[in-house]
Symmetry: C2
Subunit: 411 residues, 2 copies
């Protein structure tokens, strides 16, 4: 009963960005049909794995989708996928992909079967070459400015941030194109690339202007907040916290919580600088941090937490993911985002639904990911419009397959 | 002439996520009106700054928007903002914000003036507390798994990745709600939080399942690709490259390019492991890297580049941003994404437009960011429907302001 109920999207994908886009659409109520080759796509066994050997990654990114498994090396398999993508329906004819198969899976070919088809294709770079988050990121300079001050080597991010950003753009682009189709009846071919997403974003954030106008690379500043004050501190029990003094109010609250107004007045007098200027706080961050560090070092996390909360400081403790699971109600069923549920073949853990709430719709419980090919028969019947005899023949010939578990040992 | 032409969105925002959402909408052709307090919002002087002292950050995230400056501490100012947000128009009545001002700027109050108002509010966390990328990220465990192997302290990412992700969700949510309004005529109140976006995403990527089922924190693996093979290497001239062996094809191409098939056969025999299994490649990454390192160490980047390109390896050089600007045509006008242009008061540099292309629309040239308040008079007249006398009175009373440059010294 989500906000996109009635919309049907076909997804031909692997890895993060397009599966995440499909997931976002599915968790808003769209019917999302993901097709894969028999035995599973390139990401069928992607780490992390459950103790059972099955991919937690795949299960996480394909929740609530329908799964179809087809041998796309055969003409019959290709025709089936074409029928599924271009099947009739006012809110269908929507295809998202990062497979970029030339020829039969091009927009120009597919739209011969449905002229108002909307196809969104995510490429690695604008030239159509494969690129991944792990290559786009170093090419554009982010790892060079990441990591401890003085650490010489670049440090890559652990989160596939560009993939996540690209997934958002795939959804945006699909919804914008479908809005246009609703009004004007025309489909279109939509293209974007992971590298262009990253390049545009660093431009929007001012990093290209900074490099062009200063000619200099931004230096690493460890865990400091760039351009204002924000820093990590060790507490007396070895726990670490991040505290923020970005806005005037945040800075004042931090000074108040740590009872350091006099120390900051002295620092301002010593340096002749005005700490109300956020840039001055960044430039003087080492001295500010040295001034504040003893306050944190003398208190355990529990006491630091109480003092920061009481004064309204913007802050957070550092945690490992298991610590966050154990400590933070926002990762538990206390948060309506999460449902503690069994993912078949994997185990029980808190599973997130859609992170956006719409006042006209109640929040839906997340649905588990399908077994690979679990909906092959259903989709061939209801979407592709095949009769039982035709479907049986396809199974007999091995052109399609139902429900296969992909485990690491089978990969 | 973008795909969203005719849509009018009002933005009350600061920092990254909502301004980026407004920018995405503006670069798809929507009229986006950003309002700020007189003198500029919390992000008016956000780093990085141009040599002129003006914010490259603000200029980057507010390109092509209209800017209105209003004193929102006065009732008259609040009424003006209310009129602008709830002004008539079939494709208007769309409001995105992260200011979360209770009372007059609530959906329940604003929708008294326009019952089909769609309001998308981004909060820090689901409780309505302020949180920023710099706090959400450590709380959920990403810095703990980032950085060189064996490095004890957590390493924060330099890219505000959760803000960027949240910006995508704000656009998604707005377009989904507007689609629903087009069909059913009803507006709604849409809410999301930065922390929920991050929590949902790490769940979707399998990190919560991994932590729950293994009970263990993922260890840092430096610049290695997690779960398969991918690693950085130093070339003979000191340049560094990232090479990818994630898929079978990528792995085979890498082995071929580095002429290391025999070495890999020997490694497989020595260890009794099958390197065709992506997980095995991750587990044996130290030995694979030691085997491949001499090949890179004996060649300068130019030679490495030729060999990798010839074999179709997925790879990239590490660069600083200035290096990327100098070396990479994807950050220049060779890429239609970029236009080399003067940003008034800042300087000349390549400016990105929209990273998504729609076949029914030609790619638009990006437009510079406005001076703060530059469109106050225009918007009061055309959107709020005030007459010249009323507008003049507002300027006389100081309730609104036109065009102010915010520089660091003025902040």
């Amino acid at each position: 009963m989500g906000i996109l109920k009635g919309m049907r999207v076909v997804e031909g994908s692997a890895f993060v960005a397009v599966p995440l886009a499909g997931l976002t659409l599915a968790q808003m109520g769209a019917e999302v049909i993901r097709f894969d080759r028999i035995g599973g796509g390139l990401d069928a066994g992607r780490w992390p794995l459950a103790p059972s050997g099955r991919s937690l990654f795949w299960a996480g990114l394909n929740k609530g989708k329908k799964s179809v498994a087809v041998d796309m090396k055969t003409n019959e398999g290709r025709e089936l996928i074409t029928r599924i993508i271009t099947a009739p329906g006012e809110d269908a004819g929507l295809f998202i992909t990062n497979l970029r198969v030339r020829g039969w899976m091009d927009h120009v070919t597919l739209s011969q079967h449905r002229s108002d088809l909307i196809q969104v294709t995510l490429m690695g770079d604008r030239h159509g070459n494969p690129q991944v988050d792990y290559t786009v990121n170093p090419a554009l300079g982010i790892p060079d400015m990441t990591g401890p001050e003085g650490h010489e080597a670049p440090v890559a991010h652990a989160l596939p941030a560009w993939d996540v950003a690209a997934g958002g753009h795939v959804v945006n682009a699909l919804l914008a194109a479908e809005r246009h189709r609703l009004r004007h009846g025309v489909g279109q071919d939509v293209e974007l690339s992971l590298k262009d997403i990253a390049a545009a974003t660093i431009g929007h954030l001012g990093l290209i202007g900074e490099a062009a106008l200063s000619g200099k690379a931004r230096t690493k500043s460890g865990n400091a907040l760039f351009g204002a004050y924000g820093q990590d501190f060790l507490c007396s029990d070895g726990r670490r916290v991040m505290v923020i003094g970005l806005t005037d109010r945040q800075w004042k609250n931090l000074v108040k919580a740590t009872d350091s107004a006099d120390l900051m007045t002295r620092l301002a007098a010593d340096t002749g600088q005005d700490l109300r200027d956020e840039g001055v706080r960044f430039e003087l961050r080492a001295r500010i941090t040295a001034t504040l560090a003893p306050w944190f070092a003398q208190r355990p996390l529990s006491e630091v937490s109480r003092a920061l909360e009481a004064t309204g400081v913007t802050w957070a403790p550092f945690r490992t993911v298991p610590q966050a699971l154990a400590e933070d109600p926002d990762l538990s069923e206390d948060n309506p985002l999460f449902t503690d549920m069994i993912q078949p073949g994997l185990g029980r853990f808190p599973v997130p639904g859609a992170p956006v709430t719409f006042s006209e719709f109640s929040r839906e419980t997340p649905t588990a990911a399908p077994e690979l090919g679990a909906h092959t028969e259903e989709v061939l019947s209801t979407v592709a419009g095949l009769c039982d005899t035709e479907i049986q023949q396809l199974f007999d010939k091995g052109i399609v397959e139902n429900s296969r578990r992909v485990t690491r040992s089978a990969a």
